[in-house]
Symmetry: C2
Subunit: 140 residues, 2 copies
């Protein structure tokens, strides 16, 4: 239960790798995919999503590729996960009040709200900077 999809896992691996690279160094998608062992075409789709919302910046053409969208310290794991997996909702009724007609009287409802809150809280406290291994100075 509650399992992250491959997409989510790949997304995190990819952007964490990117966050560990210097911001002035444009990374080829193929290089990122190889480094984090993810199917390149799949990672491309994921990074397109990231690009749209500014989590990464993309450059086309020769010398193109990706860099991180902003300071890794300002990007939380929560943001990354929700960007590709959608909002964290342990059950439908956690989407919004009234989503389940039973929620007003349901004794289980508050439990899911609590789960949602706790999980979001954990993921929000972790930034890409925390996650980026110090590979900044590694060879290309």
């Amino acid at each position: 239960m509650m399992e992250l999809t491959r997409k989510g896992e790949y997304a995190i691996r990819g952007i964490v790798y990117l966050a560990s690279r210097p911001m002035d160094q444009v990374c080829l998608l193929s290089d990122i995919a190889a480094a984090v062992e993810v199917p390149p075409t799949f990672l491309a789709k994921i990074f397109q999503q990231f690009s749209k919302i500014g989590l990464v910046k993309s450059y086309r053409g020769t010398g193109g590729g990706f860099i991180i969208g902003r300071d890794p310290e300002k990007i939380t794991l929560l943001e990354v996960v929700e960007a590709v997996e959608g909002p964290i909702v342990p059950n439908r009724c956690a989407i919004r009040e009234g989503e389940c007609p039973r929620d007003a009287s349901c004794t289980i409802h508050p439990v899911w709200l609590n789960v949602q809150k706790q999980v979001r809280s954990i993921l929000k406290k972790v930034t890409l900077r925390d996650l980026a291994a110090n590979t900044t100075s590694l060879p290309t």
Copy 2:
């Protein structure tokens, strides 16, 4: 992300209802299904699973049906959820150490372990007695 399946939701609704009934009163599956608004055939499958592990007791034939397997205070929401949804694992690496070859050096790994721990902790603290609305004295 992290969404409970219908099966899980139905399972909880069903067993919570059962927990709210007096233990000496055998409940028809069809009645339970109607009360919690779940497809009867689907709930049947779920209760078969519960029966195997003793969460509910089943009786066949005339006057048959289901009762709760043991004191609702002794059954946690965690147990119920894991019975039908499997273990709570926010990511593969939370299944067991070594499941992901990267886990030893992975900076994200501990985050998922933490998520898993917190969620399990929340669900473990909630018993079926807490969840059972006081419908014990309602008409059949």
